[in-house]
Symmetry: C2
Subunit: 322 residues, 2 copies
């Protein structure tokens, strides 16, 4: 591979621009960052491996965007404002070239620029298989991070956007469906948009939140376990795209919006008194926020309402995630 | 593999114990950490890949120790006090078992307990090849991090401990030498001790510092480039073990202490006025600190003095690292 230090200087150092003169980005043993009074640091880490977390044919630009996006999505779920990130890149020799690295750095830059966050360091190594680990960090007012443990019986369950798109995009890519017909789903798979702004505004409003990375029901289950409550979800109210509606009608497979991962929307709970505020927030941010169910007493279980064709058990969907 | 969440709950959550009630370790979308007034955050990231950064036969305990140690060594070089770390573990199926994971978690615990630092999160994924990325974070008084750029002409160059041991250990393992005779070198390769305490006390004393991970000359070169100075190094004064002396006599290869990596000692510079203080510090900490050369004007070059057999060029050592 091109020498590690050349790769860093050429492609990654330009992404590193720290805020003040007494801070250090790339170029020393570590980065030095100033803290903000009254803030807590939120730290998240996610690894993407070629062929496991994204199809091998994904473009370098999209891989980089997604690697950062999935981390920013975790920050969003906690209501944190993204501050900086580090990158551990394990690079196979066939990707260690100007064109690939330029596109990869370009993908990072595209998303990082939206939030004005610098790359502050990391490590570049050789590997058989492309592996990207990003640790992203953000700030939240002390004691104000949105946690999974705050859901209370009676709270309403909401999700942002539409669900199942990432899973539909993966099917489209894997099964070589017509790309144009599934463009938005493939876009969602390869270049998801983290709900950072929504997360920021949910602080003090949501009683709990999580991002939908492993599938709605699996992720909701984490909220329920942490909060020691149960829930019901109205399957008919789970928001889906027109494309997904067509797919469900044709395939009779209605599981994707419930169990497919890679959506990176937020699932959150609110006290019923805040329903109007949530609708106003949706209008203000010009995003869709949909009520899909409610928290109930009793630990951990999810009851599905309005399941198609009289099916009620998750097992009948072939779903054994938990 | 055992389910990711089971692995986390069983092996890694016990390593996560944050300091105060309003902090979060493992178990949410991210960790939430409180900041300290007047402190800056130092962030370092290092990846270790099986077969690249450690021999395949290395024990799970030693792999974990080393993965954390190389990061703490970077924090030490900046004078930072370790605070917490996150772990991205890509695990092949043959290592996803109780015995391996228990030993791996045990190795992390052994070293983390020395500094009372919690594992605050991360990601566990499947992979063909064992890959470990740790991001470690520490605190340093604002503006007091030791940087690479502070070396001035006339400053004396010091190193801690003895050099080349990691490289000698690697040779011993790769060439199946008698393990008992090279025990301390193999120990240095597999289970290096980061110089955290030394780094802490060098703040305000060292004008620059770096850890010796890529070899003394390569790492010293980073100090020289950042500080825009040159240096001479007295080859005879570079501290080596008895074992290394024997190896050099037998092999006539005197390059290891200068160019072998994996030592994780500190190389630092001080103003000559602080020479006595450094000797007092060495006595107090009961470690060896050895003067090996001096910073001079002129950019980036290293002149070697007292090279054996009249050899003076790095190239004659087969060394083309820079």
């Amino acid at each position: 591979m091109a020498h590690e230090f050349d790769v860093i200087d050429t492609f990654f150092k330009p992404l590193s621009s720290v805020a003040s003169a007494d801070e250090i980005g790339i170029g020393d043993d570590g980065a030095v960052l100033s803290c903000q009074a009254g803030k807590q640091l939120v730290v998240v880490t996610d690894t993407l491996i070629e062929g496991v977390h994204f199809p091998v044919e994904t473009s370098a630009c999209d891989i980089a965007w997604k690697a950062l996006a999935v981390n920013l999505s975790d920050l969003a779920a906690m209501g944190a404002t993204p501050a900086f990130y580090s990158l551990a890149l394990s690079l196979p020799s066939e990707k260690n070239n100007q064109a690939w690295l330029e596109m990869f750095a370009g993908g990072l830059k595209q998303l990082a620029n939206l939030y004005n966050i610098p790359l502050i360091g990391g490590d570049t190594t050789r590997s058989d298989r492309l592996t990207i680990t990003i640790t992203a960090q953000g700030w939240v007012e002390s004691g104000h991070a949105i946690l999974r443990k705050g859901a209370k019986p009676g709270d309403l369950i909401y999700v942002s956007g539409v669900l199942g798109e990432g899973g539909l995009g993966l099917k489209a890519v894997q099964q070589h469906w017509d790309k144009a017909s599934y463009a938005s789903a493939i876009q969602q798979l390869n270049k998801p948009t983290p709900q950072v702004t929504l997360g920021y505004y949910l602080k003090g409003l949501a009683t709990s939140a999580i991002d939908v990375s492993d599938g709605l029901l699996a992720d909701l289950k984490h909220i329920l376990s942490s909060s020691q409550v149960g829930a019901w979800v109205d399957v008919k109210s789970v928001p889906v795209s027109n494309c997904m509606q067509t797919y469900i009608q044709q395939s009779n497979d209605w599981s994707l919006p419930l169990i497919a991962g890679d959506d990176y929307e937020l699932c959150f709970t609110i006290h019923p008194d805040n329903q109007i505020t949530i609708h106003e927030l949706a209008e203000e941010l010009e995003i869709s926020l949909t009520e899909i169910g409610q928290i109930v007493t009793g630990e951990g279980g999810i009851q599905l309402k309005n399941t198609p064709q009289g099916q009620t058990s998750l097992q009948s969907l072939g779903f054994a995630h938990f």
